[in-house]
Symmetry: C2
Subunit: 342 residues, 2 copies
DNA sequence: CAATCGCGTGGTAGCGCTGTCAATATCGGT
DNA sequence: ACCGATATTGACAGCGCTACCACGCGATTG
């Protein structure tokens, strides 16, 4: 005899349909496209579902419809609080929607990213959010053939795979240097860690600004591939001071380095900004309440995540955003650590 | 005529089985329980799968087997870097395994947690990781009837739903106060934000230690429901100093508050630890490189996440951990900010 | 030597939902 | 009153995989 794996007491769509006095397919439509039903049936199905406590089986739905309601998110790091802000934005945007997140960590490796991308795509995600614009050629090719909305976040560039939201790291860094120049600083050092593509572009922005002012000097630049930390900020500043003792300011590629640099100054009894001005990047919360308060480049990370997720959802719902590339910009937060010189 | 939705060129298990010259069911077994196959067929299926680039359809698998390979994770906050360390541990532990993570944010609400729990459970997760031991009665009841491994993380308590990994916040706070007392401090303030259950237990630990030393004074305690931040640390310290100007030390329930308190001291030209000793909680990276370096209570957050995920996997694979409750402990990191008095 | 056991394998039928298309009901216009 | 167009609804089959059982075969047992 044929084995019947009956699930006793389980509430399926069929039960809801039966209670509502409609066919299963009509009940199904209620969940996917409610306005296609007449008001009467809509109400009946709704109350039947509520009464029975119906919860759709996502696996069955995914199998039958050949797509999922999962948005894949690829970020390079879970440690970096920059990404936790972005993630928070993404989760907030999806809260209450039918979509959920599948998160994966590329660890700043584009090969790892490609592997994860293939893994995600095999499960037919509803959409994809990827970090940055430096994917492998294969990754890019794959993404271009996939027919789900894709948003590249954190930065903007010339040729989006699909959509893009972020800001110009080059411009932001250049503006930060512009601010220091305007405040009267001349020997402006650069502290960089990890040196991922976006940090690299900040370095390019620094170079451009310094070069335009005829102040570029390789001695002013200290970088490392080591992941960033507050401790590292102190170490790098020490290195920089050894190479170029006459610096009057430092631009740090992130706020952790800036904080570490500040502590290093305290340790050396160097006045900030009296002897050394400091500017960070990202404008994390603590920058506004340190002593002295630390100048930084504010980036809109939460909004980036939130809008990226919103763009995916809008596209999925047929309301494709008018502008596929969104520049969220940045702003220079001028605080005590970069007060006008002298 | 019946509509056939044929998927052209798609590689299904049937294709793999055909190429390997076995039945689909044998091919299926290869992926679920390889050692049940004879060596010959195992090799044949393996090479066939590789040759065709077969990727299993997770939705079909979930539908047919009535379970998923998803481990649900409920955490209260995405912002708090304490949780990002835990998450990193979880993701690292699952890396390379067949399991994936479904993450949800309870925003410190146990009602929200209950809602998310129901949502997760409806999709039959392979396992569950939840934060803390303060669930609603309903949540607890639900969890106790579910037959998947569940790990409660961040703290330990008397009656685990299933498994548990963490440490005693009470003991940790009491030990921190014990350290300050041993260093000669007597008027020790308490700074608390958010006041979630774990922070509450730290307060209890503080109270116990102070009470044992006959030093407890309500004026020494400043708490708020506001979420924590560095800025808030400064504000709370200012409040405390207004209430009790004669304090000689502060215990902060987390490191952000401690950093904020440090900056507030600098602003007031109060020497640390000369006029005020500071001890934080969690031992985030910056605590060791501030000026002065800040004492803290080290908690093993990464290990907590990593072990929690490992415990779930072990249970799923039939190797249930010998000890269902794991105390990861803590350690007092004694640094400059709580140097011996005088 | 027959009865039993267990391993490796395959056949069959469904898991719960939705795509496709046909069928019916409703409606305005002539 | 008739026609075609539009809104609603339903029947059917199948998405890709696995649970359940059956079966054949050699090994074990008394």
């Amino acid at each position: 005899m044929a084995p019947k794996r009956i699930m006793p007491g389980k509430i399926r769509l069929a039960e809801v349909a039966k209670l509502a006095g409609v066919s299963p397919i009509t009940a199904s439509r209620f969940f996917r496209n409610p306005q296609a039903l007449s008001a009467g049936k809509r109400a009946r199905v709704e109350s039947a579902a509520k009464e029975l406590g119906y919860v759709p089986n996502l696996a069955a739905r995914a199998l039958a419809s050949q797509r999922t309601e999962v948005i894949g998110v690829l970020i390079p790091s879970l440690t970096n609080n920059v990404f936790s802000d972005v993630l928070r934005g993404i989760y907030d945007a999806l809260d209450g929607s039918r979509y959920s997140i599948q998160l994966a960590n590329t660890r700043y490796s584009i090969l790892q990213e490609e592997r994860l991308l293939r893994l995600f795509l095999a499960q037919k995600p509803a959409g994809l959010i990827v970090t940055g614009i430096n994917q492998t050629a294969d990754s890019r090719a794959i993404m271009e053939t996939v027919d789900c909305p894709i948003v590249q976040i954190m930065e903007i560039g010339p040729s989006p795979v699909d959509m893009m939201i972020g800001f110009s790291h080059f411009d932001a860094a250049r503006a930060a240097i512009g601010h220091l120049l305007a405040q009267g600083y001349r020997r402006i050092g650069f502290l960089g860690a990890r040196m991922d593509p976006r940090v690299q572009r900040r370095l390019d922005g620094y170079r451009a600004a310094m070069s335009d002012a005829a102040l570029l000097d390789p001695q002013l630049i200290v970088t490392t591939a080591i992941p960033t930390s507050v401790t590292l900020g102190g170490t790098l500043l020490a290195d920089l001071l050894a190479k170029a003792p006459d610096i009057d300011a430092v631009f740090c590629v992130n706020d952790d380095l800036a904080l570490g640099a500040l502590f290093e100054c305290k340790r050396r009894h160097m006045a900030v900004p009296g002897q050394l001005a400091i500017v960070g990047f990202n404008d994390l919360e603590f920058m506004a309440s340190s002593e002295p308060t630390l100048s930084s480049v504010r980036t809109n990370r939460y909004e980036m995540g939130r809008n990226a997720a919103a763009m995916v959802i809008e596209t999925l719902e047929g309301r494709r955003p008018a502008e596929p590339v969104v520049d969220l910009g940045f702003s220079i937060m001028e605080r005590q650590s970069s007060a006008r010189r002298g």
